[in-house]
């Protein structure tokens, strides 16, 4: 700060400077036309690349965009018979992995969320699928700021615009497409037959487990109430509920275990404990909670097979849905 008011002249070259001799009116507008041409060429060319050479993003460097990929994928497409709802742990279970086992799913596992938001979004989409698979690992966490962000985004004009224009969807973001490519190169993609011969622990709780809400924290009590409310919605719509616990290196603890047993008893629904797979094979993680791509593919296959078996009338002895 200087009373003489000296001003640096550096940095004066930025494009927003206007000189008195610059053209105005129509002549100045014409100067902007090449910019629009470059934009249209890039946009069109990129859409072409996405349909031919590149694949749409299935992962994003940005947690909110990652959720948006799932939400748009779920709400823009025709609804399928099975929905997966849960947190970022299950967001790694791509619908493509389930397709490989012939179980088409609507994936609504969302970053920093429990299953309740996914169920709410399904309900807003007018039809709840016949089977809803509910991840329990983060079910006791109440809503986060992310939830409002997702709801605002779903209500926005941009979200409506992206429905007819795939180029505006989260899966088309150049940075996410690049990130997906790099991530798949780093982690590998696993094999199509991963999970063959592996079986999770599947059970239904028939006797009242005597769940004591006092074992939960205030936040967990709020989270559990929210989940029960959402599940009542699912049940009222006549859908079948399946609970599952994903491998997470011990993130889900005694509270989640007690909670899922109580839910199983309350709704008469089977519990698929995928942590059992850790005894049968080695799973890889990108951090302490989330599976890497090959392991996520493997676990998805096992879950798909199990859901398929449950739907076929209970070959696992749980009575099915």
């Amino acid at each position: 700060m200087d009373a003489s008011g000296d001003r640096s002249r550096q940095g004066d070259q930025a494009p927003d400077r206007v000189g008195p001799s610059d053209p105005v009116g129509l002549r100045s507008a014409r100067r902007f036309v090449p910019v629009l041409v470059v934009f249209l060429v890039l946009f069109g060319g990129y859409q072409l690349l996405l349909r031919t050479v590149l694949s749409p993003a299935v992962y994003s460097e940005n947690p909110a965009q990652s959720s948006l990929i799932n939400v748009q994928g779920a709400l823009y497409a025709d609804q399928r018979d099975v929905a997966i709802v849960g947190s970022s742990i299950s967001a790694r279970f791509l619908s493509g992995f389930f397709d490989e086992r012939g179980v088409p799913v609507t994936g609504l596992a969302l970053d920093a969320q429990g299953p309740a938001l996914g169920i709410d979004l399904l309900a807003d989409a007018e039809r709840i699928p016949a089977t809803v698979a509910v991840e329990i690992n983060r079910a006791l966490y109440s809503s986060s700021d992310n939830e409002q962000t997702i709801l605002d985004t779903v209500d926005s004009t941009g979200f409506d615009l992206a429905r007819p224009l795939p180029g505006l969807r989260a899966e088309s973001r150049p940075s996410s497409v690049l990130y997906t490519e790099l991530k798949q190169r780093r982690d590998g993609t696993g094999s199509a037959d991963a999970g063959d011969g592996l079986t999770p622990l599947v059970y239904t709780v028939d006797l009242d487990p005597g769940f004591d809400p006092a074992m939960l924290t205030e936040e967990q009590r709020e989270g559990s109430a929210r989940v029960r409310e959402a599940l009542d919605q699912v049940r009222a719509a006549g859908a079948c509920i399946v609970f599952y616990i994903a491998p997470d290196q011990g993130f889900a603890g005694p509270a989640e275990q007690a909670f899922v047993e109580d839910l199983s008893f309350t709704y008469g629904s089977p519990v698929v404990d995928l942590r059992e797979l850790e005894r049968q094979t080695t799973l890889g993680y990108t951090d302490h909670i989330h599976l890497d791509i090959p392991s996520a593919r493997l676990v998805s296959h096992v879950l798909a097979d199990t859901l398929s078996a449950l739907g076929d009338g209970g070959s696992t002895g749980t009575g099915g849905c």
């Binding site: 009116g25 909110a64 990130y179 780093r186």
Partner: protein, 511 residues
Amino acid sequence: MLFTSFAFVGLVLVCLGLYYVAPRVLAEPEDRPRLRTVQTSLLVLTSFVFYAFNRPVLALLLLFSVLMNAVVAWLLVSARTSEVFKTRALAVGIVANLAVLACFKYAALFAEFLLPSALEGDVLPALRGIPLPIGISFYTFQGISLLVDVRRDTSGVAGQLRTLAAGSDGGEVRRRVRFLTEVALYISFFPQLIAGPIVRASQFLHQIRPRRASEVNWNAAGTALVGGYFLKMVVADNLAEHTALLVVDDFSRYTRVDLLLLVYGYSAQIFADFAGYSLMAIGLGRLFGYELPRNFRTPYNSTSITEFWQRWHISLSSWLREYLYIPLGGNRRGPRRTYVNLMIVMVLGGLWHGAEWNFAGWGLAHGLFLATERAVAGGRYGKPELVSNVARIPRIAVTFTVVSLLWLFFVTPDFGASAAFFSRLATAPLGLGQLGDGLSTGRLFAIVVFISPVLVHHVVSLLQDHRPRVPALGPAVRLGWPRIQTVALGVMLFLIATNHGVTGEFIYFEF
């Protein structure tokens, strides 16, 4: 209403259409005073709709500010008012402006000092519950600028308003209405109402005149708008997802590289957020024929803190210099008084951002750096042309790191959190070979990718500034620049459409 919302785009398009078409219907083409009034009124109406869109009650506060400043300005230019009365009117006007700011922004802070502790329990929560009207710090400063510029007659402002107040065209009522509308436009002009640039009366009032679409530089407006929307929607909104860790996370699992990346990420974000807003404001102003002052000059190319303040939030730093530092005596009363003045200005400048001790601490730290630089090298730190090319890059790196670390006071919730960050930075492992343990690879990828446009912008500017010293680069850059600019703007537009983040509020809306 956010600049990035579809509602805002709709409002601007409607206003723009009416601005250039309606006057042809409502006023004869040669009736320039009427055309001026119609266009000015339309902009004022749009500004109030914009400001009150989410909370209509805010319109009352803006209206009060406009009316109060208009009445005082009228008194200041009136021939019937004595000089003594004018001086008193000016004092009352400034105090009234500051009182509004104090009431809505600093009441709780004052109460902490002034109230007996017995009353604090009842009063403080109520005072802390007073919602901060957005933009209040900006339009209050503009109100003060209006009154002072009119009293000083800076750039003939007083004469211009006097002509409006006492001109020969139209009756008394019409003149008063026109005076009020033009003051209202200056205070409330929607492109810069919420977060600046802080425009001085002497920079704005002389621009009010009838406008036609054929006089507008649409290319310059479009260029500024594309640049602004790109910085905000692509750079700042994408970085915000990751730098939010500075607010909510504990720092124990991060390495030094992680921590520095988060801080550099926030530096790029706050620049992109605020410079983006300023560019949008400039672009929007141009759509209506108004040129708003530039607010940033590649601030992270600064070789000292002194130079940083010549390049960052220029409209605030020049306002503080003009209306606070110089009236306090500036550098004319000896070195000690200069240092004291610098500290006063920077601490108050910090508090201008928010009634929290964090902001005062941020201002104090900057004040200390400014005073130290002045003590060590006099005014030389404010003259980058004296820095050799060899010394330039390391000095830019050091200044950028210091500025970035000081932003922590902005983003962390309190001093304790800032201290925890610095403590971890001092003790954490360096992080080479450990990347990914703390920050996920996705976050690292995002921070590096979205910092890069800010980096490129600064590097290009640096190269352009020193073009004469790199002869081989000169002609190439000169010949290629328009084409590079066209392609760059096209790419920015493409990324705005396809790669924007989740829209968030502007950081400076909180101030």
